[in-house]
Symmetry: D2
Subunit: 355 residues, 4 copies
């Protein structure tokens, strides 16, 4: 199994949280796409911790494109983006090398890599690796915009509080594009932030649900078996740290309906075939039907909490306790939005190359 993902378009992530640089290589981009450093910087800013809600670690994310771009456009050959690591306090973590943090990959990484992985700051498992993913995402999102495809994600739930649902998708996506705290109802967003801060004061953390809409996809993307649109997207979405569930359209709620309620009946809208409802989230039989693509991800509460927790010592094989030091987000949901947009853009751009 591999860190190189995709079919027509492939993405390879590399680097460790406290190594000199992290980065990614994108292969299979069409030649001639505009690659604007400003757009990458903006997308990276959306991933950056926003104000009171987030870790104190400063991440200005300077990046360098070392290949694949010539005179402002993609060359069609592999595009490598490098992001140097800075402001690293390795001491916070090193004592934890043999006492895995609950809810983290410390233990599973230790087993998989037989004790040889770089343990500092989560190493290759660190959420820090989503920075090059988001930088790549900026390029994918721009390529999709050139083809008339728009992607937007809002915090549908956070700390048990709910945002309003999508209404006028085109407007909603535009409003979300640069919102640092991505909600559709600003008041509810403020309530969410207050709830996150309350959890943080308790030394605790919260999770939430991200909902994504995609406008402008043609019908006919995907395949009936294995490479369904849902399967390809979920394959990639579960790489977003803390995602534990993915549902399309009404998802689990659809399982509670009767067929007569859940079927999306067809009708003509001028020359276009549309459905009257969109319980299926724009996908029938694994293939896009031309309606907006809609899905949600469940994001678990940040496992790094200030409250002491029981764990084991992998060197002595005894039970012990740890208190996770260092700076941690009490809620990664707002930052995960940029990652979700990037991952979605990647899979859809790959699928569009099949047409």
């Amino acid at each position: 199994m591999s860190n190189c993902f995709g079919k027509n378009l492939t993405l390879t992530l590399f680097g460790e949280s406290h190594g000199p640089e992290i980065g990614c290589v994108i292969d299979g981009l069409r030649p001639g796409l505009r690659v604007e450093e400003e757009a990458i910087a903006q997308q990276l800013a959306l991933r950056r911790p926003a104000g009171a809600l987030s870790t104190a670690r400063v991440e200005p994310d300077p990046f360098r494109i070392v290949s694949g771009v010539w005179q402002g456009r993609s060359t069609g050959t592999p595009l490598c983006i490098l992001i140097p690591n800075r402001d690293v306090k390795s001491d916070d973590y090193e004592s934890l090398a043999h006492t895995p943090r609950p809810g983290h990959a410390d233990y599973t990484g230790f087993v998989k890599y037989r004790g040889f992985a770089d343990p500092r700051g989560g190493g290759h498992f660190s959420g820090r690796l989503t920075a090059p993913l988001v930088a790549a995402g900026a390029i994918f999102l721009a390529a999709l915009r050139e083809r008339g495809v728009a992607i937007g994600t809002h915090i549908a739930r956070c700390a048990g509080l709910e945002d309003r649902p999508f209404k006028h998708l085109a407007d909603d996506l535009q409003a979300l594009a640069h919102a640092p705290f991505p909600v559709l109802d600003v008041g509810r967003g403020e309530a969410m932030q207050a709830a996150v801060l309350a959890a943080a004061r308790d030394g605790d953390s919260v999770g939430g649900v991200l909902e994504t809409a995609v406008l402008g996809l043609p019908a006919g993307l995907g395949a009936p078996w294995f490479d369904t649109v849902e399967g390809l997207l979920s394959h990639a979405l579960f790489s977003i740290p803390a995602v534990k569930g993915v549902e399309f359209g009404d998802g689990f709620a659809l399982a509670e309906l009767r067929g007569s309620q859940g079927n999306d009946v067809f009708r003509m809208e001028g020359e276009r075939v549309v459905t009257e409802t969109n319980h299926n989230g724009g996908v029938n039989g694994g293939i896009t039907n031309g309606m907006p693509l809609l899905f949600r991800t469940a994001i678990k509460p940040t496992p790094s909490i200030a409250i002491p927790q029981r764990t084991v010592d992998l060197s002595t094989h005894k039970n012990t306790e740890i208190t996770v030091q260092g700076r941690h987000d009490p809620c990664v949901v707002p930052r995960a939005r940029a990652v979700q947009d990037s991952v979605t853009a990647f899979v859809l751009l790959d699928l569009l190359e099949d047409l």
Copy 2:
């Protein structure tokens, strides 16, 4: 995108609902695995419509292994299974070739395959294609059992009614192994069946939730990015017709907890590292942690219903109405269980080959 799936172990499905034969090719099986026709027949029986709940179409599923088995054991070369199609009434469907059934892949298949796909009985999209998948699954499940891995799935919810949760996993999985209606509480199962029949009497259909547990997996399967266990499994699970959501461990419910509630703390159990709870469903950072793997799929109500529905005529580009003829399950959840077990076994066996 492709009908050939997997890395070490690959599976290719072929055939159409009303063609002469359907089948699959499995490549990458270890040589020397016992392949018992009886085990395949039993697994196919679990997929067969059970009593009053299901379509009247008789599917005895005779199958032939045409390659890859010699003297009762896998040769290590590609194993092809063929299942002839029988008892086909194509007339039921042909009138529907240009009037796509809501909730089905008729429209998206028409677009993707530009009108050239075999429209009879859903063609290559038909749930009938899950028969070779289940036959292959019998081989995968046996190979996993040889390695001490057991898989079981129950109907966690159906028609709005709930089964009891997993308790003693080993016992529960054994009880489920050959149960025609896979629930842990027989009484609740009877209530579910009654509710399905009530929907059927209304010409309607219902959905549900399937929950799977896997015992005996080693820690260390999967990868941090892209090829996470959750990503690989969900990629395959969304191929099960009607699946619209996948969640691991507590899934969407986990998004509502605080970190202190959702973290699974570690402790030693003799020589083994275990977690006290299993909110994460046996996966941390995309990699198995040695605890039971737990996940749920949301299965939408069968889109084929007897109630008339609005649709469009793709030849005249006008609105119209259809009544879906033919024999249809009012609920595919019980039958989907065998498919879910098969798909799960496939992905896990592929992952185990990486060790």
Copy 3:
């Protein structure tokens, strides 16, 4: 490593020489391609042993298309072709199960598959498996012809005798299309056949060189690293049983020239860029340049010979001797031509889907 090959277009071969059926699955074909059974039968005829030169085993190669074709055209879903095995004399081979034939895969197959492979008639390694490959090739060749691409192969050398080189490619390819003994100079072909028969009378066998030309390919196919046209083609060509070398353009002879002799200089021919010579065989830097693609394969002498040979007994670990019984071609070069055309068509059609 896998029996499923290709990127946009994939091909999976299955079956054993003496099993009930052999076959292949083609995935990723465009919907709407004409699939003519007559064209498949003709291509299979080119692979059939021709007259005195070949084994006495009769292979009429009846085949069935069991999926992926509807009303004479490809559906776009997986296309499976089955060919039953007939006229099998397994007794000839069974005594050889533990005494590997020199030059064959008996020993390496025994090691790789740990003694579990079907030993009868070479099992999955048998040249018989090229029958479904050639049947698939007929479909690929027809799809290429629709795009203006023509492929032809002649016996450049056989038993030490040489055919004339390609001259007027379009005419030469047409002449080769249905020639049972594919040479450009009929007289030299007769001399070759006489030489083969002389070897056969000695209980021996001969090899040769197949040369392929492809007309009508656009410039721009392939990639600079790894997925070069030469790399992709050679990857597939070495699957043709007995191929031990592949060279493009002047190949090994080019290594003897100076740069000023081997460089193909460019000039305009109307609107087209052409090269004056074609020492590079239509490929520069791994990518097609629009000139005819030219390559040659070295085919070793058939390892099955009637002369007694030394070998080992894998059960007793002692030296022994065998005489290969059964019916064998004294030269597979003429029959390998159809396989070479098929494999070439497969790789090129896959590459064309990238455009």
Copy 4:
């Protein structure tokens, strides 16, 4: 088609000849392998132009490992190596952007990348990209040595002159390991160098043949169809710039023999099965047989020559003439040796992971 190659082990190359940095990402390395910077530096030195034979461009090849190594050992997560570009004189090349050099990828790259590729110094097509490939190769070669596998390559032919054949493989490979001009007979090597210099004085260039031997491979690597050892190796070997042919064992010469001459008969050597001869180069039926793996590549004369050549102007569509400026090797064969060893090591290490 993709710059990401391999199955268990994948390699991605990125960068352009005159960009800031070039590099590669290796994914799938086992955790715990020693990674010694000294070994990488030594391997890069073998690729560096040797004395009078080569371009005046100085390439000290400083490199940085930016991920995947922790405390001197592979972590098992992606390993990225970066090599900065230095001493670049872009002016030499820019005038050539629209006048493709004969024998180079300028024209095919222009077509494939639609004029968007970086034209400076060959861009992504440049032989410069073999530097990260060789750096990666040093790691692969060390990993193979840990498993008892040794690889060595000598110049079998150059400028029409021949080296002596392999005799005592273990000794020959050891002698080649650090030889700057890799021949088995030093005197013949001096004659070759003189012949290369003679061609260089004429403003011309020469090619040659590289022969590789691999000792210590187990029997059983490879597959009967598609993923043959020969197919996998040749797929990668044709990425070495200027390779136009690949042959295994006796290759094209084997096509001239009779079966009784070309078959390698088996005998027991103690407990081991060996063959008396090795005309098949250690591969039967696409699978290693435990004998030394032997193959040769044909390397065409360097297309960059000082003699004026005819070409076309892609902007005016007229015939024109160019004289290739800049510093060029009159013969890349000696330097290609390090690349051939690296590519071979990569493919074999990937194959060994299948066991």
